[in-house]
């Protein structure tokens, strides 16, 4: 029985591991632009780093403060996208992105307990910047509504997941046996800030 189960597991693992892409032609349907909007930021390292840093920062501040971002961030992305589309692809530029990465990283590393309003303002500013930046690849044939829905959904999912994982990881500060987790989050923040510094250097490099 055990051998049969083992063989079945090995066979299943082999089939799953070797399975090629499904090519289910979802892009050919009308929902293609939704996935384009959702995947566009997730395939950009700047978006990924900034979004995860913001989510971890919000999670480290606790659920009462962080939960506001579940609403603020996706709406900010939508506003930024609209701003970018109406103003012809205006973008804050890579220096602003690098600066934002450094600020978020330093806030995490220094364990600054910022109030809810500045946190929401930071999230809104970041969302506006990245929403506008993502508007640059919206073509004339792109269904803008679907693209915007995909972008906002990706923002909602990324921020919520990053916050939830951080909250679960940090657990409670009252237990001294897991105090190292707070230090790990701060060390992660310093990595983020270091990456931001490098980004700034690359942008300013001759």
């Amino acid at each position: 029985m055990r051998h049969t189960l083992g063989r079945a597991c090995v066979g299943a693992a082999a089939l799953i591991g070797s399975a090629p892409a499904a090519d289910a032609h979802i892009v050919a349907s009308r929902l293609g632009d939704f996935y384009a909007g959702a995947l566009h930021p997730l395939t950009d390292l700047q978006d990924l780093i900034l979004w995860i840093a913001l989510g971890v920062l919000a999670g480290s501040l606790g659920a009462p403060k962080g939960r506001w971002l579940v609403l603020v961030f996706p709406l900010g992305l939508l506003a930024g996208l609209v701003l970018g589309l109406t103003s012809g692809g205006v973008s804050a530029g890579p220096v602003a992105d690098a600066g934002m990465v450094v600020v978020l990283g330093l806030l995490l590393a220094a364990n600054v307990r910022i109030p809810t309003a500045p946190l929401c303002a930071t999230a809104l500013g970041l969302a506006l910047m990245r929403g506008a930046a993502n508007s640059g690849d919206v073509g004339s044939e792109t269904n803008r509504l679907l693209f915007a829905a995909g972008l906002a959904s990706a923002g909602y999912a990324a921020i919520t997941l990053a916050m939830a994982v951080t909250l679960a990881f940090r657990a409670t500060d009252a237990d001294p046996s897991i105090a190292w987790r707070g230090i790990a989050i701060r060390a992660f923040g310093s990595w983020i800030a270091a990456i931001g510094l490098m980004m700034g250097g690359f942008v300013l490099a001759p």
Partner: protein, 201 residues
Amino acid sequence: MLSRRLSLLNTLVAVLVLTQPALAHEQAGVAGGLSSGLLHPLTGIDHLIAMVAVGIWGAQLGAPAIWVLPITFPLVMAFGGVLGVLRVPLPMPEVAVALSALVLGAAVAIRLRVPFAAAAVVAGLFAIFHGHAHGTELPSAANPLAYGAGFVVATGLLHLRGIAIGTLSRWPAGARLIQGFGVAIAALGCYFLALSLEGAA
């Protein structure tokens, strides 16, 4: 028994037949930059041993060094990296990198106890030179952001590895073993220092 072996053979054949190409050498764009950045601190032995030594020394010194160093070191190193990217010259960077392995290895070997501020200054100074070397050697073909992310993460993980090794100092035998590591790191530092001085001459 025979049927079991045949069954295993069938499974292996199926795995081999169904396997997709690995594409293990994709070096373009983000993947290329990330892999270059991740591998850069690991392929330079002088960088690698110095980063591990910082972690071990921090663990030997205990709190607050054990948790302040992992937080501040990447930042200071990135500052050095920016100097390297911007082509700001530093005096004898290769000598300083080799010297860092020698000094940090010796500190681990003799279990050097210094005030935290002094340890932070020493580690920070060497971090600038290590970061500078990484920044200067940035591969032009790779994605720069991915390269930066890769090398920060790799360095941080090396540092954490050093801290993990340093926790062995709780046991007398572990403490001796770590001091042996320190001697080996210092000896390698001597070797790299001789090489760099020879190159500079």
